[in-house]
Point group: C3
Chain length 415, copies 3
């Protein structure tokens, strides 16, 4: 995942444009994507898709004519969606067009102006301070014109048409944790899922934030009831503990599954109630759709150092954290794949486990049978295995294994 | 409010009689009251209205003939509802007819004997101790005879016939916090409400405790379903924090409104679950009526020093505390007036706030939109604005203002 | 109860056999029991009743021919359900057939092998260590043959056929707390209940663990809906606080009753949520029956020192703890006998308690009327007296007495 991140890092992504296309093309080499293009000016619910933005070049030349800032060095240098400009202006006026990081003098901030026409540059405070007085030349050679919003999706089919939606955003430029970590994790997850036999169909969505999910929801507005579970993937490469933000419903099956997986992990983690700001979960959870989509991250965006600046680089993220995030996503997949409701097929008295080799034969106490006994006790049709794992306090995996053994012995049947 | 309290203080109030009439007449100069008189001996649910009690004079003369105790000095001196007596008796026997304060030797206690015929005097312990041995003359010239229970009410009409009941008791003699604070607060509240455009109609009830609300409920027993919210006002002038006692239902709209108002105040306060002793809320919340009526006080009766004694005087209460209590009542009125249920009119995806000037246009993070986003997220018809304020943790006022802005932009509609 | 325990202690009990019969015969002298015998090999739900096991003799003789271990000294010495054997073997091989206590070198452990054919002895570690090298002679003269599972029950009839089931197990050999305390407590409880007028019928069940309740449930499978409440009695003689394990339902009337009784006791106690291991409550709470049967003990089995060993002796248990346990069971009986739902017969306003002598006539504050007022306030048909005791925080006894006084005055009626 780190290697793919290194390849994607220099591509100049924004909300629209060739950077998004190149990113999707590279991902498509790993997980074949179906790429959709929605024309600029399309009415999408309450929104109108924006013009497409591409950058030919953008730079500032100093009093002596030398390039002091160049988009070619870092795509962070240009205010996203800057309109074209070619002008000369004194340092004092240039300063009014420059954004720096409020806390760290070495970081270039990441700023955009998607829905208001504007232009500007982003520099580190140290770089800004080093600029000598004098007249500067500015060139912003961008094209903001009718084009498309571009997104890509992959469907990994399972036994049923019920879908597990995994969504991430691909509009951020050279920023590792927020959010190249999301696309590389979903890419690796998609590769792994394609190797497995699955009950659910898995839909991977790589799209520009906000407008991307809105376009996808618009295109699929008659089919969203296929989405049974969903997660928005972002900020998955830093060393912090896992953070889960519940869906608006709060107690959907995805919410219960992630809570059990994080509990069973034995690692520090946080579970947050729904709140209506944050990432793309906002669109999926809007009250008209009310889809059971949570957000599973490590340290939430804006809580880690370097957030939305050049400080969000390869020093912040680690292959081991990406791998742990991937394993956590896979554990959630396994919990939902394995979650079923069963009914005790021998409900009058406790079945005799001993004669089936399910019980230690010499008395004296044992706790190994706990998962078998909890499963038999609670499979009255009112609880699924996640609920049994919750009430018993036992790991989901132990309950799932107990259910498998009981099924083998005809002591459970499907609810 | 303090000035009105000073005027009402010397009027010799009791459960019935001219003291109540004079009190209502004085209040009526500020808020016109409709005064009702229920004849003695009327069957009111399980109760029979008592005889009317008036005091012509009541005094004790000492061995030397001097008046040592006189009702004219303080209406607290006479045991409420004392029957007439004219007698001479030695100090030892007089002592058996005298009540003093159990803890404070300087305070005259307030005692009554409404439903058992009796007579007696209330003195400070210090005064009692100073009485010389000898024979005393006692005169209790009271009239306990058929008359009326008197109460007053004012209706401040609003757009609807749904009523908000505000009730207080007017039977206590010269006691400031418990309970002249109640009538003076409701008087000021009535004056303020009469100046406002209102959705609810507001009914102010000034009546003797217990029997007054019972008489009012009896007279209005076919119309009590108009009462949508109610508060019993008492003990509102001391420096303690606000105390709210929930209605018997516990989660009525009035309960949720007061809880949010007190939370939003940022001040120390207490919220108590329902209990069936206390004040007139007992009658309104009796299971046959089960009205949503809470009790909103500062320090509860019997928890402040001087309770039911001459220690409950103008040193205990303060104009600033009365004013704060009034503002709190007004905030509850505003919360209930403003509480509505709406439905998000653009529920598919988040509406684009930016194009309506409701969103900061340059990215980089902001929390100002929180109230807008929470309101849009939760207006699915299942929650009113109080519930949204509760779940979001944001002030009710912020949610109400957000709803107003969204209504202006046709992003909400009535549920 | 201690005296009966001393008589029962030496009887060599096991899952089946004459030890159980002798135990039931002795109890029958106190509370007449109906004894049932279920033949070996009977299919009972998922189980088959075992062969009956009786011991003629069992001993180990040392190299010098002396008896070093003898079942006649303690019925703990023989692994329960040991199959017959007569052999000679060196100490090293004998050691493989010997169980000792893992923590205490002086205690003989209690071990069984009911459902796997095996033989062995139980010794204290100290005794094992003292055995000299050499050849040992072993005699296990047991009979494991077709016979019966034996249990006894008594029905103490009440006004209704609704039953309160009290169940304990009688298969443990010379062990005081776990579980002679159970049978002696139920015996004393039965004697006391037989002296009382009762609303419920009380069924006492004395049976071997697991297979006993299964046999009883099998025989009564068409009548189990008569069981309205139930408790499994065990471990009731040690000095620890009372421990209640809720029924699987968690909020059955028995669960609420025991919780209130323990709360009202003012003593330290524990209330545990349902878990599907433990004692005979497992069978009654299996999802097919789902009976409201909790388990009321002092220190739970396996939490007190000496559990399942010779350390569970007369030094561990005390007459005063047995007596306190009995009083607790009786308090639960009284709570359930007295728990009813009533409706306030004078629900409009508070009834005038004073005219009925139920209220202090001179004002000035009192809390004595609390139980009357709580009962009047909450008897709207939705709550029984246990629920009123729970919500009011007042003792159940006070609420029951208040209800009785209100019934006398026609202020309540049956719901």
């Amino acid at each position: 995942m780190i290697e793919l991140m290194r390849e994607l890092y220099p591509i100049p992504r924004s909300l629209t444009g060739d950077g998004v296309r190149q990113t999707l093309a590279r991902i498509s080499q790993e997980v074949p994507l179906e790429v959709a293009e929605v024309p600029s000016g399309t009415q999408v619910f309450d929104w109108t898709t924006p013009k497409e933005w591409n950058v030919d070049e953008a730079w500032i030349a100093g009093p002596a004519g030398e390039r002091v800032v160049d988009f070619a060095d870092s795509s962070l240098h240009l205010l996203g969606y800057s309109v074209p400009v070619r002008t000369r202006l004194p340092l004092a006026e240039l300063r009014e067009r420059v954004f720096t990081h409020p806390h760290n003098p070495d970081w270039i901030p990441y700023r955009t102006s998607y829905y208001t026409e504007n232009w500007g540059f982003c520099l580190s405070q140290r770089q800004l301070d080093s600029l000598p007085e004098g007249e500067y030349e500015v060139s912003v050679a961008t094209r903001l014109e009718d084009g498309h919003v571009t997104y890509g999706e992959a469907l990994i089919p399972g036994e049923t048409e019920d879908e597990f939606l995994l969504s991430t955003y691909v509009d951020h430029p050279a920023l590792c944790n927020d959010n190249l970590s999301g696309p590389v994790l979903l890419t690796a997850l998609g590769q792994e899922l394609a190797r497995r036999g699955l009950r659910y169909s898995y839909r991977l969505l790589f799209s520009p934030a906000t407008i991307g999910p809105l376009c996808w929801l618009w295109q699929n507005r008659d089919r969203v009831d296929r989405i049974k579970h969903g997660l928005v993937a972002s900020c998955l490469g830093d060393p912090g503990g896992m953070t889960y933000k519940r869906s608006r419903r709060g107690d959907a099956e995805i919410d219960r599954a992630v809570a059990i997986v994080l509990r069973d992990s034995g690692r520090d983690h946080s579970i947050l109630e729904w709140f209506p700001y944050g990432g793309d979960e906002r669109q999926f959870n809007s009250p008209g759709f009310d889809l059971p989509v949570g957000a599973l991250s490590r340290t939430p965006a804006d809580k880690f150092p370097g957030y939305h600046s050049s400080g969000d680089d390869f020093d912040l993220v680690g292959a081991e954290w990406l791998e742990h995030s991937l394993q956590t996503y896979l554990a959630v997949v396994e919990a939902l794949e394995g979650n079923r409701s069963y009914v005790n097929a021998s409900p009058y008295g406790e079945p005799q486990l001993g004669k089936r080799g399910l019980y230690r034969s010499v008395g004296g106490g044992s706790s190994e049978e706990g998962a078998l006994l909890w499963t038999l006790s609670l499979t009255d049709g009112s609880m699924d295995l996640l609920a049994i794992a919750q009430r018993s306090g036992l790991p989901f995996r132990a309950i799932r294994e107990a259910a498998d053994r009981l099924l083998e012995h005809d002591l459970l049947r499907a609810a």
